[in-house]
């Protein structure tokens, strides 16, 4: 396989910005995500020639056209499958999947499930705006119950899927959350996702200004953000709030969180749960936290690395003595594994 040999020293975010006009609606959260990705790519420092962006269908899916890497804008919901094929064919490529709540969890939910459980070495960025944007505003699988939309004029009836909980349930080894407007945080999460050798699932809360403005405002509004966001740090207690006085501890005699105030009723920091990225139970509990009772957990919920699928496939091929097809012994192939006989001339 060809890999780029010339990595320009000190790549800058603009080295990843293509010459194509970005056609998202003015004010769309996607702009900020694009910027964060370009920053992360510059920090990671891989050449655009070794990097591929793969997308399905939806607003977010235009993403590959806006970065200078290799890119493949595929069909609705199937980007993880295309990306799996790419990694199997050339494990050296750094492959990013860009998807949305409809693309990745509705039409493509099956591929998401299996790509995560297989642990294909991909960064899967799911832009969650809780709405179908490109088709003009129908409710999506992550829409809150009661969402009024052209297809649900009286409000939606379905229980939404929680993307991070879904990913954990599917067996993902890296599950993180960030928000379109949290630039430095998002860049850091993306950098960590890329460093994980396996399927890295990043849910990005993204605002759709036109069809679902403020879908995440219950925890993204600046005025309340500090009281409604729990910024996770491995090895640190679960603390939030403007003055870092709020925290989460386990309820006595139960496997459930309770929100407490440090310094009240004898609660001290030592009583709080300490974040452990390798703890699946904890990650699952964190994924389900919602306002108003609890803050939304932001950051790396779960990271428990395991060898990636394409690596295991290639290791097995190597163990079988795999050689490039171009060097295949066709005569041996045709004679192998069965009885041959010769008819004399």
């Amino acid at each position: 396989m060809i890999t780029a040999t010339t990595t320009p020293a000190q790549l800058k975010p603009k080295d990843f910005a293509s010459d194509q006009d970005v056609r998202w609606c003015p004010g769309c959260g996607d702009y900020a995500i694009l910027k964060a990705v370009q920053r992360a790519l510059a920090e990671i420092g891989k050449s655009p020639d070794e990097t591929v962006f793969v997308s399905g269908i939806g607003c977010a899916a235009r993403f590959p056209y806006y970065v200078t890497t290799y890119g493949f804008h595929t069909i609705h919901g199937r980007a993880p499958a295309f990306a799996t094929g790419m990694k199997l064919a050339n494990p050296g490529l750094d492959v990013w999947v860009i998807t949305g709540d409809g693309d990745g969890l509705s039409i493509g939910g099956n591929h998401m499930l299996h790509t995560l459980r297989r642990n294909v070495d991909l960064q899967i960025l799911l832009f969650n705006n809780e709405i179908y944007g490109l088709t003009k505003g129908q409710y999506s699988p992550t829409s809150k119950p009661g969402t009024r939309s052209p297809s649900t004029p009286e409000g939606s009836l379905e229980t939404p899927v929680l993307p991070a909980a879904f990913a954990l349930g599917a067996g993902a080894r890296f599950v993180a959350r960030s928000i379109d407007t949290m630039q430095p945080h998002l860049v850091e999460v993306l950098t960590r996702a890329q460093a994980n050798r396996g399927a890295s699932f990043v849910e990005i809360y993204q605002n759709c200004l036109v069809f679902n403005d403020g879908a995440h405002s219950s925890f993204t509004d600046k005025a309340i953000a500090s009281d409604t966001q729990l910024l996770l740090e491995h090895g640190k207690p679960l603390v939030y709030g403007a003055n870092h006085t709020r925290g989460l501890r386990l309820k006595q005699g139960s496997l459930a969180f309770e929100a407490v105030t440090i310094g009240e009723h004898g609660v001290s920091t030592a009583d709080l749960v300490v974040h452990d990225e390798a703890n699946l139970m904890l990650a699952t509990m964190l994924a389900h936290l919602r306002p108003p009772e609890f803050p939304v957990a932001i950051g790396v919920l779960f990271h428990n690395p395991h060898s990636s699928y394409e690596r295991a496939v290639h290791d097995r091929a190597a163990a079988a003595g795999a050689k490039p097809v171009a060097q295949a012994d066709i005569g041996g192939l045709l004679r192998g594994g069965g009885r041959t006989w010769e008819v004399a001339g």
Partner: protein, 644 residues
């Protein structure tokens, strides 16, 4: 009915007349007391319960016949249920082998039917040639089994089998006796029944059994008792034939050997030949890797299994979560510079359709193998049909042409698979390779091609960044360049949205869309200039009647035309490998005949395409019973028309 040789009790045989001694060169130790009828070819059908191991029995007989130098063709016919309730007619599994001097079909009406239970007799006796031989395991003809098979009375005791010769043996008991020493359970002992039967049939047709004994020992290496019992049963069946005098009306057959080209041979199924052809094709294209994305489906799964065992040749197999992912992963692999391959049957191909459209739009190579089965919907999963031709040629949204080619015989799958890889990589397009359930499972002897004769069509990946445009076309093939991601300086974006004809950027320009639609069509059309001109397979290029076929109807169509020509009729045979585009002289060729007859295992797909493309008065001969054509069905149809 002639009741022949009821072999029961202590009396091992009934001598009923004069036996003719015939030398059996392949087994010098054999007594050869059986009267032997010399035949050009013989068709035997092994039939039993789906748990009786009939496919295996047939395969082993095939191996022995092939090793003995016979030409042959096989027709495995098994139910969709893995283990339907024992003894029922819907659980009957059969394997027909036709072997002899010059064989190109699995045989119209079998000469011999081995029926291991009443249900097998019920389902298959109607197909047997009048005067043919029925071999029965009387041990299974119990009241209960007779009733399960739907016999009101015992057919062994009435006139049901009067038109046939009958050989009744308590094979069950003989098998139990043969393997008694191994202390197997009753059930395990009876599982050796197929090997006992195989031993007897090998003896009857003058075949050896060493290769089978060796195969059994290998297959059951970890279960030595089972291996020994099966080998013992095989020997016992063979020995029974040698030592027991058969009734005079039961003739054995001395079957003509094939007068074949010298060289190294093996038997091959369509599945194996396809797998090897894909590898040979990728080697000819000088690619590093093959990536098969597939999802289990009858009758295509064996291709996934075969390629999964060939990792050392640079093959990666990916059992995807569904048919769509299988196709998408294959396309992703092609995008990354490997040969993407996806395989399925009709319903699965339908699911891959949208992905194929993307491969057409982004102009990436892909080989798609359709092992057709009877449809629509789930249809008859284990029965063969050719009814996906329209789906292959036309079945996508938008104007979305792709080349479609089809294999004629199991061995032909090898060449056609190589050709599929050549077209896919040279023209940057998905290629549909049509086989069917019959071809996938059927076997024939194959003169192995000389590996040095493998064609060479190396892919030239674009590596030069100078003036690179993702959709700049080769002036001759109209193919766009293939670029491996990872190549410095060539990063670019492609996708399903219509793209500019040069840069590949998204383009909503109406004129560009029209130009691109035409360019995609012209590219596929142009393949007609890169494939051989169509010739008749048999017969002159002008005349009264021509039979035009495609796919697995090759064997019966060829035999039918051959027979009619021998009888002095003016009939030619055209067999099409290329179904889209057609060879560029096909219209002219067809116009040279007064009558065009198109036998197809569908309700008239190729015939419609020929009429539409060439305005010829082509007429269909259609069959959708899930079984291949018989030669006689085609000769009868032609004769009827010739007499008009």
């Amino acid at each position: 009915m002639k009741e022949l040789g009821i072999l029961t009790g202590s009396r091992e045989g009934v001598w009923l007349g004069t036996m003719t001694r015939i030398d059996r060169p392949s087994s010098p130790d054999a007594r050869g007391v059986l009267a032997r009828e010399v035949r050009d070819s013989v068709a035997i059908r092994f039939a039993g319960d789906s748990g009786d191991g009939m496919q295996l029995t047939g395969s082993q007989f095939t191996l022995e016949a092939a090793l003995a130098g016979s030409d042959l063709a096989t027709f495995p016919d098994y139910p969709a249920e893995i283990r339907a309730p024992a003894g029922t007619t819907y659980g009957v599994s059969a394997f027909q082998i036709h072997f002899g001097g010059d064989v190109s079909t699995a045989g119209d009406d079998p000469d011999v039917l081995v029926a291991l239970n009443p249900a097998a007799l019920m389902v298959n006796s109607g197909d047997l040639r009048i005067g043919g031989l029925v071999v029965i395991d009387t041990g299974t003809f119990t009241k209960r089994n007779l009733s399960k098979a739907g016999f009101a009375t015992n057919p062994l005791e009435d006139d049901t089998l009067a038109p046939y010769q009958l050989l009744k043996l308590d094979i069950s008991q003989r098998t139990r006796d043969a393997v008694e020493e191994f202390g197997l359970s009753q059930k395990e002992a009876l599982r050796c029944r197929n090997m006992w039967t195989l031993g007897l049939m090998l003896w009857m047709f003058g075949q050896d059994y060493e290769a089978t004994a060796e195969w059994i020992s290998r297959k059951f290496a970890k279960l030595p008792t089972v291996a020994q019992a099966n080998v013992k049963a095989l020997h016992a069946g063979h020995a029974f034939g040698e030592t027991v005098e058969m009734p005079s009306d039961v003739v054995g057959y001395t079957v003509a050997k094939s007068d074949v080209t010298p060289g190294v041979y093996r038997t091959v199924t369509g599945t194996e030949a396809t797998a090897w052809g894909i590898i040979a094709g990728a080697r000819a294209a000088a690619l590093d890797r093959i990536m098969l994305g597939s999802y289990p489906i009858t009758p295509a799964s064996p291709l996934l299994h075969t390629l999964a065992g060939l990792k050392r040749y640079g093959v990666i197999t990916f059992q995807a979560e569904d048919e769509i992912a299988a196709a998408c992963a294959a396309i992703g692999a092609s995008y990354a510079g490997a040969l993407g391959v996806t395989s399925s049957s009709g319903p699965g191909i339908a699911l891959k359709t949208e992905a194929l459209g993307l491969a057409i739009a982004t102009e990436l190579p892909l080989v798609v193998i359709d092992s057709q089965r009877a449809g629509p919907s789930t249809g008859l999963p284990t029965k063969t049909e050719q009814s996906d031709l329209f789906q292959a040629v036309y079945g996508r949204n938008g104007d979305a042409p792709l080349p479609v080619i089809a294999a004629a015989t199991p061995a032909d799958c090898y060449d056609v698979a190589i050709e599929a890889v050549r077209l896919a990589t040279k023209y940057m397009t998905p290629v549909m390779l049509m086989i069917d359930g019959y071809l996938a499972n059927a076997a024939e002897p194959w003169l192995l091609p000389d590996a040095d004769d493998l064609p060479s069509f190396p892919v030239a990946f674009r590596t030069d960044p100078e003036n690179f445009q993702p959709f700049a076309r080769d002036p001759v093939t109209l193919a766009r360049p293939w670029v491996m991601p990872g190549t410095p300086g060539l990063a670019h974006r492609i996708g399903g949205l219509e793209r500019d004809g040069t840069t590949g950027h998204i383009s909503y320009d109406p004129d560009n869309h029209e130009r691109m639609t035409e360019a995609r069509a012209a590219k596929v059309r142009g393949i007609a200039n890169d494939i051989p001109l169509q010739e008749t397979h048999v017969g002159p290029e002008r005349g009264e009647t021509v039979v035009v076929g495609w796919g697995s109807t090759f064997g019966p169509a060829f035999q039918a035309v051959k027979q009619l020509r021998e009888q002095g009729h003016d009939v030619s045979h055209i067999h099409l490998r290329y179904l889209n585009p057609f060879p560029r002289n096909l219209g002219e060729l067809l116009a040279g005949f007064q009558r065009v007859l198109v036998p197809e295992m569908n309700t008239g797909q190729l015939v419609t395409m020929l009429r539409s493309a060439f305005l010829v008065p082509a007429e269909g001969l259609n069959k959708v019973t899930g079984k291949p054509f018989k030669v006689a069905e085609i000769t009868d149809a032609i004769r009827k028309r010739l007499e008009q």
